[in-house]
């Protein structure tokens, strides 16, 4: 029985696999179409009942009438029911297959639809991309066109403005022309009227000048005739004026040039010195600078050379050389300063204390120093201002009176001192003058005495010549002169006491000597008149003039004294 074997197989398989007999069954039913050796594993002879109940369950679950009822103990199946059931199952199966087919067809259809749709999607996406690109392109074009439109609008506005401006200009020029034309027309009319008037007017008023008298030219010179010489002179003067102006200007320009050249040279030297001094400080940039160093050394040589050849700077080459070298130095300095700036900024960011930070620190120190200097200067200026105010403004009266003479105090003291010294000197001079006068008086005394001595000596000589020799008189001589000499010391003292003018001491001297000379005179008068009188008068004259010859006369007297004495001695001895 193939069916029961089939069922058995099915049951056995279900007993074996238990939980999912349906799956197994469906699988096996599918396989049935292809393989026939998987049949009959569900049901075996041992599990018939179980298979029957199981199948019953399955059938009832499928909605078919049950195949087997449990009431009867008979193991015989209701064949009709089983056949019906089988038929139903076959129908179901067929239906299922049909639906499966249709579903497969549908699935195929849908998959083909999907493919189709996907193709369309990709196509549409491409189209979309394309259209987007076109869109952006169009937008771009639109934007550019808008910009162009704006620029064109602004151009148009400008043009309009310019047109307006030109129109304004034209209008103003037109009004100006009209104004001028009207003015000219008015003048023309006036001219016409005047012409008419002149033609009509009978009497013509002539030009005339009426001057009372000619006046001279302003510079007083006579006016010259107009000749070629004067014309040439005028030309010459004109050119002289022009030339002197050009000269002056050229001189100014030369001076300016020299100054500027000096400044440029100075700048160049400064820049070179700055750059050369910076070289050892910058360590990191040494390899870069090596080439620069060599060049700058050459430059330095050039600098020194050009300073020696300053005269040559007046030619174009040297001038160009100077300016080019300055430009080069300036560029180098600029790059250096930029480097320093960047280094300073790095320092600020990193905050490290390298040698690179030194420039910044020195800058700060410089700033502080400068600020301090400024403060000091300000204080100084303030104190100066205060002092000035004190000086200019009169303070209270006491201090004013105190201060009024303070400037002159030193001078006054000095003046007083000088005055004192002058006074002292004056006194000294007075004293010396008195001394001189006394000396002069003494001199006169001595002279007199000498004259008297001479007179007596002569007398004695004369007397000695005569048989009446008088040896008593000679000691008188000496005694008289001695007396006189002693009197000299007294006389100056007397003179000092009296403060009268020293011009004529003779009246005083005379009484002193007159007593002693009176006898002499008498005696002398008796014998030689001329010889005694003359010496006396001579002596008077000499006395008068002796005031002014000081030492010389004294010496002369002394010499005369000595002369007189020796001849007298000789005379005495001879006799």
């Amino acid at each position: 029985m193939p069916e029961s074997s089939l069922v058995k197989d099915g049951r056995s398989s279900s007993v074996e696999y238990g939980a999912s007999p349906l799956r197994q069954f469906s699988q096996s039913s599918l396989l049935l179409h292809r393989n026939s050796y998987m049949l009959g594993t569900f049901c075996t002879e041992h599990n018939v009942q179980q298979c029957l109940s199981h199948i019953n369950q399955e059938i009832s679950s499928l909605g078919l009438p049950p195949v087997w009822t449990e009431s009867g103990n008979s193991s015989e199946l209701n064949i009709v029911a089983v056949l019906n059931c089988m038929y139903d199952l076959i129908q179901l199966h067929r239906r299922g297959l049909r639906t499966l087919e249709s579903m497969e067809v549908e699935q195929l259809k849908s998959s083909s639809n999907i493919d189709h749709l996907q193709l369309t999607i990709t196509r549409l996406k491409e189209q979309l991309e394309l259209s987007k690109r076109e869109n952006t392109g169009l937008l771009e074009r639109e934007r550019q066109l808008q910009l162009k439109a704006k620029s064109l609008q602004s151009c148009l506005k400008n043009e309009k403005e310019e047109v307006q401006k030109l129109q304004n200009i034209i209008a103003s020029r037109a009004s100006q022309y009209n104004h001028e034309m009207k003015r000219k027309e008015r003048e023309f009319n006036k001219l016409k009227e005047r012409l008419n008037q002149l033609l009509v007017d009978k009497k013509e008023k002539k030009q005339a000048i009426d001057v009372l008298n000619n006046i001279g030219r302003a510079d007083g010179k006579r006016s010259l005739w107009k000749t070629e010489k004067t014309e040439a002179k005028h030309e010459g003067e004109m050119y002289k004026t022009l030339l002197s102006d050009y000269d002056a200007r050229q001189r100014e320009l030369v001076l300016e040039n020299a100054e500027l050249r000096k400044v440029l040279q100075q700048m160049k030297k400064d820049m070179v010195s700055i750059l050369s001094s910076r070289k050892p400080a910058v360590k990191s940039d040494k390899p870069e600078h090596s080439g620069v160093q060599a060049r700058s050394e050459e430059e330095e040589e050039e600098v020194f050379d050009s300073s020696k050849e300053s005269v040559e700077l007046y030619c174009v080459h040297a001038r160009e050389k100077l300016t080019n070298s300055i430009r080069l130095q300036w560029r180098r300095l600029k790059s250096h300063v930029e480097r320093l700036d960047s280094q300073a900024s790095l320092v600020q960011m990193v905050e490290s204390k390298d040698t690179d930070a030194v420039p910044q620190e020195t800058q700060e120190e410089e700033m502080d120093r400068l600020k301090l200097e400024i403060q000091q200067c300000k204080d100084f200026i303030q104190t100066q201002q205060q002092l000035l105010q004190q000086l200019s403004s009169p303070c209270d009266e006491e201090t004013a009176s105190l201060l009024s003479n303070c400037y002159m105090l030193q001078e006054k003291e000095r003046l007083g001192e000088e005055w004192k010294t002058l006074e002292e000197q004056r006194k000294i001079f007075e004293r010396e003058r008195k001394n001189f006068t006394e000396a002069a008086i003494r001199l006169s005394h001595e002279r007199k005495a000498f004259e008297e001595d001479r007179a007596t000596w002569l007398k004695h000589q004369f007397l000695n010549l005569s048989p009446f020799a008088d040896s008593k008189k000679t000691p008188l001589l000496k005694s008289k002169s001695a007396f006189l000499i002693s009197a000299e010391t007294e006389a100056p003292e007397k003179l000092i006491k009296c403060h009268s003018d020293t011009a004529s001491p003779t009246p005083r001297c005379v009484p002193l000597a007159s007593a002693s000379t009176a006898d002499l005179y008498r005696t002398l008068c008796l014998i030689p008149e001329n010889s005694s009188v003359q010496p006396k008068t001579n002596g008077e004259h000499v006395e008068e003039s002796s005031m002014f010859c000081g030492d010389v006369f004294v010496q002369h007297q002394q010499w005369e004294h000595s002369e007189d004495h020796t001849p007298s001695q000789e005379k005495n001895s001879s006799i």
């Binding site: 100006q176 001057v211 000619n214």
Partner: protein
């Protein structure tokens, strides 16, 4: 500052002699000569008609009185009051009269500018100069008085003739490249002659004394051009004021522009802006008697002082009528200070402001804003001090140190004056009527 009492004068004819000793004023047909220090009347002369123009000779010995209507010129001598001289131009008429620099010749321009007659007071000789041009400034004498430049127009062309003032010998005669010459001016050193065209064309030509064209300067085309020209006293700069409200400074070495001064309505960068502020004194009802009102002293006298305004400052601008010729716009007055340091300018559409420029820094030094239009201003011949007046009773002074407004003691109102400076050290040197 001392002010003298008010003297009557007519026609704004009041001049101080060049040597600073005398002051001459004209009243109708009388000429009054006073001593400057005592203001005593020294001489009184009577002319035949109302005096239109009065001028001192350069040596202060003679005064010229011109009566344009009658065509007469009378010359009076200070040394000999009996001396008289009368020049009658006859039917040819008289339009202007002036002295020559040597003070011995009188140049009369006849009506319609037909010719210039040169009368010599030394020899009674007459010379004629034909075809003078009737323009803004057709004659100029060089500062040392040796040359005279005259603008002429023949056959619709402009010429310049240079005469030697000694004997009126024609030194040079050349054509200028101008369309319509408006004026000429010698540089103070007498070596360069600046010639400028009418306002329809911006053109300034510089000729050397011997007639060579040194340079041409033209800032722009078509718009109205040069309005005023001034040399600096050292002949270093030539300032050109134009209708575009700008002043251009030309240097004497290259004859090219070295600076341009603009007059914007909003002043932003300057040292100081002085604004005149008027203060009317409060008048109580008791004082408002008839007597006070008639004397008018307290009611109409307003105190003025200067205030320093902070930048930016708006200057009031008056737009000129576009249809009229010679519009009131542009720099019309230029004046250099005697030491070359400052330039004072006035822009016609900002008529109440005077701009002072520092020539060493080439920047704006100060702006003086007045309450009414400035009538005229003049520099002190010795110090950098500017005096200006606006037609009221006050005199305004500016110096680098500051600004001051001084009340001039007058009775009643007071019309716009001209300023003349006296070169006196002790006294403030402004005399005005």
């Amino acid at each position: 500052m001392n002010f003298s009492e008010v003297f009557k004068q007519s026609n704004q004819l009041c001049k101080v002699s060049p040597d600073g000793k005398y002051l001459a004023t004209c009243v109708q047909y009388r000429l009054v000569v006073r001593d400057v220090s005592t203001l005593q009347i020294m001489h009184l002369y009577t002319c035949l008609d109302q005096i239109s123009h009065m001028e001192w000779s350069s040596d202060s010995l003679f005064i010229l009185c011109a009566m344009y209507k009658r065509g007469l010129v009378q010359v009076w001598s200070l040394e000999q009051p009996d001396w008289h001289c009368k020049i009658d131009e006859g039917s040819i008429g008289l339009v202007s009269s002036r002295w020559s620099p040597d003070g011995r010749h009188i140049l009369n321009t006849t009506e319609f500018h037909l010719r210039i007659t040169v009368w010599s007071l030394c020899t009674k000789a007459v010379s004629y100069i034909k075809y003078p041009k009737a323009c803004q400034k057709g004659i100029d004498f060089s500062r040392d008085g040796s040359y005279m430049a005259l603008a002429e127009r023949r056959d619709c062309k402009d010429f310049v003739s240079i005469f030697v003032c000694d004997d009126w010998h024609l030194l040079r005669h050349f054509e200028t490249e101008t369309q319509d010459l408006a004026g000429l001016e010698w540089s103070p050193n007498g070596c360069v002659l600046a010639v400028w065209d009418s306002c329809l064309e911006y053109k300034v030509l510089l000729y050397s004394l011997d007639g060579r064209l040194l340079s041409t300067y033209s800032a722009y085309e078509w718009s109205l051009g040069v309005k005023s020209v001034s040399w600096s006293p050292s002949s270093q700069f030539l300032a050109i004021g134009s209708y575009d409200e700008k002043v251009r400074i030309i240097n004497h070495i290259t004859w090219k522009k070295i600076a341009q001064f603009e007059h914007p309505a909003t002043v932003e960068s300057t040292k100081t802006v002085y604004k005149e502020v008027e203060r009317r004194p409060a008048v109580g009802t008791d004082e408002m008697s008839l007597h006070n009102i008639t004397t008018g002293s307290t009611l109409f006298n307003t105190q003025s002082k200067y205030e320093i305004c902070s930048l930016p400052v708006q200057i009031p601008v008056v737009k000129p009528d576009p249809d009229r010729a010679n519009p009131k716009i542009g720099v019309s007055v230029l004046a250099f200070s005697s030491d070359n340091h400052y330039l004072a300018t006035k822009n016609d559409n900002m008529a109440s402001a005077v701009w002072v420029w520092n020539m060493q820094k080439m920047s704006l030094e100060a702006v003086l804003e007045q309450t009414s239009a400035v009538r005229c201003f003049q520099w002190d011949p010795r110090h950098p001090r500017l005096a200006l007046c606006t037609g009221n009773t006050k005199l305004y002074l500016w110096s680098p140190g500051g600004c001051v407004a001084v009340q001039v003691p007058t009775e009643g109102n007071f019309l716009g004056p001209k300023l003349n400076y006296i070169v006196l050290r002790y006294r403030k040197g402004a005399e005005l009527q």
